[in-house]
Amino acid sequence: MRRVYDQKSLRQRTIWDHFILGLLMISTLVVMVPLLIIVGYVIINGAGALNWDLFTQELGSPARAMQGRPTGLVHTILGTAVVDLLAILIAAPLGLGAGIMLSEYPDHKLNPVLRILNDTLNGMPAVLKGLLAFSLVVKPMGTFSGLAGGVALAFVMIPIIARSTESALMNIPWTIREAALAIGLPRWRVILSTVMPAARTGLVTGFLIGFARAAGEAAPLMFTSFGSNYLPNHWSNMILGPVDTLPQRLYSLAISPYKEWHEMGWAAGIILLTFVMILFIAARFLTRQKIKT
């Protein structure tokens, strides 16, 4: 009797197990399907517009596209790289610093305030960050600039990087820090040489999530990097003058009345997606390599 009972229980458990596993797979699919649909839809619509001109020519006026003259997004692609790079260069040290402060100095008086401010910044609509960068950078400089765009995107990245840095460092057991302190390392050394290397995967992932989130933002760039139809006359104007970025250009191409520009918008979508994906793959590769050594 007892054995039969046991077997029945086992069978029930197996069924239950399969059922839950099935549910999990369904939810995974539900998450994946929209992503795949989006990626697939963008590729189907944009692949036709991908051509060499897109990567070598400037946009110019819509007349160029309508009359079949060469037009492309080279200035947009370079502009996106410059603005995103400026943003991560500004945001990485600040976000990392804030994250270290929150995790490694938990008793510091400023921390509760810092945490509230960080969460507020994270929840703030991105367009307000653009306005902040407008008054901090654009107004004093007297012109829209790639730098202002970088600052606006940095405001998007900082709270994400700070939060993810904090949680990545918190995951490292406190005993490791105690062990390092016990052999006489100063506190900064402990953080730099034991805690951060141990948390590197989490740290890099945090950078990337912040980066990817900012790379897709159009709203904060509208009144900071502003947009341009050409490469600037001097390369320094990539930073000091108005530049084009993919998310913003994608938006303006999409609402334009021209069929040719709609197609180019889809192609811009492919480029932006590829850009973000390459970064994710690079990061995965980087962190994996580090684990082996």
């Binding site: 110019g60 006026s61 819509p62 007349a63 160029r64 080279v74 370079l78 790289a81 410059v82 790079l85 991560i88 260069l89 990485a92 654009v138 107004k139 007297g142 012109t143 829209f144 730099l192 040489s193 034991t194 951060m196 290397p197 590197r200 740290l203 890099v204 950078f207 509208m222 502003f226 947009g227 341009s228 139809n229 050409y230 490469l231 600037p232 006359n233 001097h234 390369w235 104007n237 990539m238 003058g241 108005p242 303006s252 609402i255 334009s256 009345p257 021209y258 980087l286 580090k290």
Partner: protein, 384 residues
């Protein structure tokens, strides 16, 4: 040392950054090299303007053309952010010139005068024509409407397309008994300004109940964001009527109405009819609406699109040098003279001669630190 790992990661980011920067510099350098044959790098200028979306295709095409004509010496970057945005950024002094379909109000003019010790000039750059667009199965373009009928439709009084008032104007046409769906702009727009200014001028009731402006309190209908929003709603709704700029309607194959003007002539919207409409007595600052024009062959729902510049260019934070100021003035002069050649090909009406003369009078007064650069540039172009 383990700590180097994180630095390597950061190092990679910085490194890839340098590569990208180097690539962008490289792009710039090769670009410069090709241009060096004609002009030295120091003499090359970037001009920045922004504003109304309606003239954007024309102005950017002018920028393309001007860049070629000056051998890449001058790059004009124009971004379409709407008339409201154009005025705002012009006043904030973040752009070298603005562009708008609604001229600067007296308050803004006074504000500018206070800030820059000089005036703001509204220089007509092209003409904006607004056409009633509709979706009536079986009826193409050319439905005849007049001011009274348009007011009744947009007030919500005419609710069916076979209304006797519409039928009286269109004897040969078989009007369906579809309900009328009014579509208007939901955003602030120069197009709305021109359209409502027409309705205001033909109807006292509209003037007192609704008035005109870049956005008004519509008594009926659904809102669409931008020219594209209105067009989308009209195209997808049988029985819908909205209003779009003529070039937009042509580009998107929309049916549009012919409108009876104040002289009783039925006018098919066209570049010539729009230019004719502007053939009136212009005030010196050209800040005038000429909807419901008295010109007998003029199309009645039209207005100027203006370029905005400061009288004292040195007072505009966005302009840093006399060279930039001179190049800006030269571009403005070119765009209202030679640049007008591009108009018809792109769906725009040419400026009438009177407006160009008024513009020259304004350009003459443009200064850089008290020097009359406007006058100098006009002389250089051989226009005075």
């Amino acid at each position: 040392m383990k700590s180097t790992l994180i630095f390597k990661t950061l190092g990679f980011l910085a490194y890839s950054g340098i590569i990208i920067l180097a690539a962008s510099c490289g792009g710039g350098v090769s670009e410069e090299r090709s241009a060096e044959r004609e002009t030295s790098d120091a003499s090359r200028i970037d001009l920045l303007g922004a504003g109304a979306s309606f003239p954007a295709p024309l102005v950017t095409a002018m920028a393309d053309e001007y860049r070629d004509e000056t051998n890449n010496r001058v790059t004009v970057n124009y971004q379409s952010i709407g008339s409201g945005g154009g005025i705002r950024q012009f006043v904030e002094q973040t752009i070298m010139f603005g562009m708008t379909e609604a001229f600067l109000s007296d308050e803004v003019m006074a504000d500018v005068e206070k800030q820059t010790e000089g005036r703001a000039f509204n220089i007509p750059i092209t003409l904006a024509d607004v056409v009633p667009t509709y979706n009536l199965p079986g009826i193409g373009k050319g439905l005849v409407l007049n001011g009274e009928v348009l007011v009744d439709i947009f007030l919500g009084r005419i609710t069916r397309w076979n209304d006797p008032k519409i039928a009286a104007l269109n004897s040969g046409k078989n009007l369906p008994s579809l309900p009328v769906t009014v579509v208007h702009r939901s955003d602030g727009s120069g197009t709305t300004n021109v359209f409502t200014s027409y309705l205001t001028r033909v109807s006292d009731e509209w003037r007192t109940r609704i008035g005109f402006g870049t956005s008004v309190n519509w008594p009926t209908g659904i809102g669409g964001n931008g020219n594209e929003g209105v067009a989308g709603a009209v195209i997808n709704t049988p029985g819908a009527i909205g209003y779009n700029s003529l070039s937009y309607a042509l580009l998107n194959d929309m049916s549009f109405a012919y409108v009876e003007n104040s002289s009783g002539n039925i006018i098919e919207p066209s570049y010539a009819a729009t230019t004719a409409a502007a053939n009136i007595d212009l005030p010196e600052d050209t800040r005038v609406l000429f909807t419901n024009t008295p010109a007998p062959d003029g199309y009645p729902i039209a207005g100027f699109a203006w370029m905005l510049v400061y009288e004292n260019l040195d007072k505009n934070n966005a302009i840093n040098s006399r060279r930039q100021a001179e190049e800006l003035v030269q571009f403005i002069i070119w765009s209202i003279t030679d640049g007008q050649e591009l108009s018809e090909g792109l769906g725009y009406a040419r400026l009438p001669e009177a407006a160009i003369q008024r513009s020259f009078d304004m350009i003459k007064q443009i200064k850089w630190r008290g020097d009359p650069v406007g006058q100098e540039m006009l002389k250089k172009a051989g226009l005075i």
